[in-house]
């Protein structure tokens, strides 16, 4: 459906570049709500993250077929249904229509990581949908705004993360940046500025 909009440069397959992408990701998980530039500017942020994290040990769901078959071959990962996958790649503009794996009490780390592609992430409240965040990694509160995210995601997430330690971890990605919202982050939706 959106195949042509996911970009991939040859550099991203280099371990050194993946290490830089991962360090950005580590920062964004440590400080939720901080919009982090992806270390590879020529590869779509969501794909950079997948390349840095997935391999044959993991499962990936791509229900909207955002990835080409050539990319699937290089990712070496196993396709899976959204309900069971460790990683899920989706376009954030459409509504959630499934329940992801939220882990079990003795293995909460099996809760899914959900990568949502959005049109744009904004440090300020100029986007058409504001999120106010608090929780671990955030000194008091922080706010960002997003274009191209269906509000139903935030409501659904609220449900999925309601019983800590169970939950899912979100990463919102625009073309060149990403922002992480691990399950501990409390999100309130705000009005557009």
């Amino acid at each position: 459906m959106l195949n042509e909009t996911i970009n991939c440069s040859p550099d991203i397959w280099q371990p050194m570049r993946q290490q830089q992408v991962f360090r950005g990701l580590l920062d964004s998980f440590s400080y939720p709500g901080r919009i982090t530039p992806c270390a590879d500017h020529e590869t779509s942020a969501c794909l950079s993250i997948l390349i840095a994290l997935v391999d044959g040990e993991t499962t990936l769901a791509d229900p909207q077929q955002l990835l080409s078959s050539a990319l699937w071959a290089r990712l070496e990962t196993h396709p899976c249904v959204s309900e069971k996958a460790a990683f899920i790649l989706l376009d954030g503009a459409s509504e959630p229509d499934f329940d992801p794996c939220i882990g079990t009490l003795d293995a909460p780390e099996t809760g899914a990581t959900i990568l949502l592609r959005v049109a744009a992430l904004h440090h300020d409240l100029t986007g058409n949908f504001s999120l106010h965040l608090s929780g671990p990694g955030i000194e008091s509160t922080t706010s960002i705004s997003v274009d191209g995210l269906h509000p139903a995601w935030i409501a659904a997430r609220q449900e999925w993360v309601s019983a800590f330690p169970l939950g899912v971890d979100f990463v919102l990605c625009d073309e060149h940046n990403f922002v992480a919202m691990p399950r501990t982050t409390q999100i309130t939706m705000g009005d557009a500025a």
């Binding site: 290490q19 830089q20 580590l26 909460p108 990694g137 971890d169």
Partner: protein, 295 residues
């Protein structure tokens, strides 16, 4: 040994960071989940390293999975940059990660791998502290079965641990845990914060820097994210207290080298059998001696 044997000449026989990329990816995935579930001991497939388990392989695997050529690494063993464990691990990283800088100055490092101490100098958001952990589970003293411990952790059921602390108070009038003090992270999981002294436990609370803890032998990684609650387990009427280093008359000992009275001190006996005190954090002590501004 075969006398014709030759070591591989190319040090490029190893990939950057010694670990293969699949191993690094697994550790990286595990670290992200550990941050997302603060204090939860995330299992991972700890790799064989060319050093014995128990020599910091857990911390080392985290360091090697994070490190890149833009990093500056500091390695500490019991506060010191110059003791055996620190020197060996630092040399190993220099050998396997060409282009990485190393330093002894806390403020210059982007990654700090440490055994049993957190530096005196406060860490910043640009730094990541990696602690080597021998025993990751605080509940191991009260429950032998890991399956049951996992359930207790999931339910945040630490009543038996609190009973243990209570028994200490009954027997000795105070909680006798000197290091590895059980600490509750973000109001849920209780961690063993590795054998850091009590002195260092408050530094975990609302830390500016990410703290990652790796137990290689026990195959666990857990994290204390920045700006996160880290509360030592205590009772309402018995406050947590850190080492105070006072002598019998109530005067605080000073470091014999730099004279600091605000740092964590190691106790030594000199040749005459006299007890002497010295800063445990060697980088801090040296800086105090150079600036002469010891408090």
């Amino acid at each position: 040994m075969n006398s014709n044997y030759e070591l591989p000449l190319e040090d490029a026989g190893y990939s950057f960071g010694f670990l293969d990329e699949y191993a690094k990816k697994e550790v990286r995935r595990c670290i992200l989940k550990a941050i997302a579930i603060p204090g939860y001991q995330t299992p991972y497939a700890s790799r064989e390293m060319p050093m014995g388990r128990g020599f910091g392989t857990g911390g080392l695997q985290i360091t090697l999975s994070l490190i890149g050529v833009q990093d500056t690494l500091k390695v500490i063993d019991q506060g010191s940059d110059d003791s055996v464990n620190a020197v060996n691990l630092r040399q190993f990283v220099q050998l396997t990660c060409p282009g990485v800088d190393v330093t002894e100055k806390t403020e210059e490092a982007s990654l700090l791998q440490s055994r049993h101490r957190i530096p005196e100098k406060p860490l910043t958001e640009a730094q990541i502290l990696i602690l080597q952990v021998p025993y990751p589970d605080a509940l191991v003293v009260v429950e032998a079965s890991e399956a049951r411990r996992k359930i207790m952790h999931a339910e945040a059921d630490y009543s038996r641990l609190l009973v243990k602390l209570y028994e200490d108070i009954v027997h000795f009038d105070e909680i006798t845990i000197s290091h590895r003090y059980p600490t509750r992270i973000n109001g849920h999981y209780v961690i063993d914060p590795s054998p850091i002294p009590r002195w260092d436990v408050p530094k975990l609370h609302q830390s500016k820097a990410l703290v990652l803890l790796g137990a290689g032998r026990e195959k666990k990684i857990y994290a204390v994210p920045p700006y996160t609650l880290a509360e030592p387990l205590v009772f309402d009427d018995i406050a947590f207290r850190v080492e105070d280093f006072r002598d019998a008359t109530g005067v605080r000992h000073a470091c014999r080298c730099c004279g600091s009275t605000v740092s964590f001190l190691d106790e030594f006996s000199n040749d005459q059998g006299m007890v002497a005190y010295q800063c445990s954090d060697s980088a801090y002590c040296e800086e105090q001696q150079q600036t002469g501004s010891a408090a």
